[in-house]
Symmetry: C2
Subunit: 107 residues, 2 copies
């Protein structure tokens, strides 16, 4: 399902990136990742969370490798336009270490 993103209001940093907070609908903060304009456009079009991987320097559709996809329900922008909040449903753990949230303590 497409999701609305106020693309023209987003202020990208000097690298063309904006930080995105991914939050489960129950309030749990799952991860902080980065998006460029292409990732936001793909997220808006598909409703699947896309990011920009800084380490791999590539568009990253969350879950393509792990199966742990994120279905974005709502995207909010902050008052300064330089941060985004994805409100979403996470399949499986969000963290590549198998934790539900990247902010959970190591098991």
């Amino acid at each position: 399902m497409p999701v609305k993103i106020p693309l023209d209001a987003v202020k990208f940093d000097e690298r063309g990136l904006v930080p995105v907070v991914a939050q489960e609908l129950d309030g749990t903060v799952l991860m902080l990742a980065w998006a460029n304009r292409e990732a936001l456009e793909a997220t808006a079009r598909t409703g699947r969370a896309h990011y920009w991987s800084r380490s791999r320097r590539a568009l990253w559709r969350k879950g393509d490798t792990s199966g742990h996809v994120q279905e974005v329900v709502e995207v909010r922008i902050d008052c300064d336009g330089d941060a985004l909040l994805y409100r979403l449903r996470q399949t499986g753990p969000a963290c590549h270490e198998g934790k539900r949230s990247c902010f959970d303590p190591a098991p």
Copy 2:
């Protein structure tokens, strides 16, 4: 009240900054801000949320101007060490526009 921050695990970016997600204890994401080492040390020592203001280029103790202080209960670091989560109690609105959260829609 002092709060524990795993300072040596924090990976600061090329500007010496790390993004911080500020979250109310009920799960509401209030804002995304930035911290340098000095801001983290001050937060750890006092339990009051400190940030680095990129626009003013100054240490920023949240609430000094507005009275809308943040009492940090817990600080979590993500699996990559390059993002922090402040779990906190917010006095008054977090947003300088008077909204509870910077991610709330404009009134």
